[in-house]
Symmetry: C2
Subunit: 352 residues, 2 copies
Amino acid sequence: MAGGLGSRFWPISNSDTPKQFIDVMGVGKSMLQMTFERFEKFCRREQIVIVTGEHYADQVREQIPSLEPHQVVVEPMRRNTAPCIAYAAAIINQRDPEATIIVSPADHAIFKQDKFEADMLQAVDVVGSHDWIITLGAQPTKPETSYGYIQFREQASLENAKNLHKVVTFTEKPPVEMARQFIASGEFFWNAGIFVWRLPILMQAYRDFLPAIAETFFSLGIDTPHEDLERVYAHSEAISVDNGIMEKASNVHVMEAGFGWSDVETWDSLYDVSLRDSHGNAILGGNVFTYNTKNTIVTMPDEKGKTVVVEGLDGYIVAASDDTLMICRRSQEEMVFRFASDVALKELIDKK
Amino acid sequence: MAGGLGSRFWPISNSDTPKQFIDVMGVGKSMLQMTFERFEKFCRREQIVIVTGEHYADQVREQIPSLEPHQVVVEPMRRNTAPCIAYAAAIINQRDPEATIIVSPADHAIFKQDKFEADMLQAVDVVGSHDWIITLGAQPTKPETSYGYIQFREQASLENAKNLHKVVTFTEKPPVEMARQFIASGEFFWNAGIFVWRLPILMQAYRDFLPAIAETFFSLGIDTPHEDLERVYAHSEAISVDNGIMEKASNVHVMEAGFGWSDVETWDSLYDVSLRDSHGNAILGGNVFTYNTKNTIVTMPDEKGKTVVVEGLDGYIVAASDDTLMICRRSQEEMVFRFASDVALKELIDKK
């Protein structure tokens, strides 16, 4: 799934080039490219399907030039994850009705490739012999309020699978006090947004819990005329797969992820997951020189050749795209939405 | 005189493009262009001669395209202001031995054009009937240690010229305590580096106080072969006109400048002379948005189209050239030399 709007990393990402297309981590690859390579290690690359929006399809093809036409599934409009997965499932169904499907966001960070591969192969193995939906859960490290939480019960009744649990509840973005209680109870994982299921189980879940989506989307295919596709999307409910299916289905199991995960949705989470120097500075891009500076994150994914000298900052974000530079305290990162809208408004006025 | 190396405004100026060629003030014109326009208002433009180094001659011609060849005098090497003025004087002497000459740096700021013009015309008038050297002095406003100071005596014996004084001493860059005493005494001006004299008086002063320079430089001309010019310069003493002539000549008078002057040699002096918003921010270039920010100077002369968002800074310099961004506390501005050398060293290492 590579259709997100990701504008939290303004100015380095924006709705034209959202986070999945940006080298947010400063490693020389976009989040999408990293995700693709992660799966390519244990999937046949021609079996990887990328769902994105019309506005982003060309960027997907540019960033992964080897893709065949059927591998880029283009949604005519945004309707959240349930329709997105249903459409991709319908297309996969045309090629392989018995496929096992791993659903994954294209813009999350995974820190241990080996563990990721082992977990995925285990999950694929488990759903091969059980009619389960497996969702991946990450051990929470702080009462993050922007994540979804999965409450689990005792271990699943399965040999050699201590990391598999039956799911009790899903809770999206809880208040901080609730998140604290969740963590204290030891019964909650963060929802990593990765699902593993066989196609027949997936389709049955849609028929059971989202019958309107199942009826319209499962008749779509790679050759569906654009106007039909648009009509289906326009009439569809916009709902997440978590709300629409996971919260309701009784066969959902959560697998504790051993691979280290972050959705890297905020500057602070990016800072948290980045390599830092002895002064706590995370230097993600550019030719950066720091003096009397600490706890500061510097990134300019498009501007690798640029030199940046930073003196006397403590706890700042310094981020530049090719046309915009932002300097902002880390504690004020939620102001980026205001910055983005102020700048857009000014551009609008200047054009008039 | 447009041959300075001006690297104090790194990264917006450097030895390839020193301060005189930069729109330091954020007005859409370089210091050189502003200086040229200032004189053009009351001099015939073809009488303006610009002395610069070989490395800078093309930039002079680009910035002032209307210049005729004889108006750009190119020094083969840097030998401070006394040789520079002597060479220009020799060339002017070929065209008009009775010329009155105003010598001026190309990279200073003048705030009141009308007053400047009036002062210049008065000075030209005075030296027309007196064998004097007039130097312009600015009323000091703080014990600046990077300026030259001119001690003056009683008013000159001249009707209608209350602003003219006989000069007693010149002092370059005094310690701060001395500068304080100078100001307290009320007997000192800042040396604005602008001199007005008739050519015969100028040449006589050189013959009296810098005879070696007079002998070799006054035989130069616009058609002197480059190798001869190089030999003269290579053998010349490097000395300022202040040290070599002004401190020694007895006919030097200082005119109190009514026009508002700054040599704009430091980030702090630029901040001082810039228009500031109600939070004390001096926004000199770029499409700048400030939030919770005060006492900060933002400038990016080459990057007018760039958007800059600054949040949570107090007392900083934010400056960008097309390839380098600097964020530095104003109180640490002397660190720019270290920044420039660290960056240059890194570039050198990267090339190897």
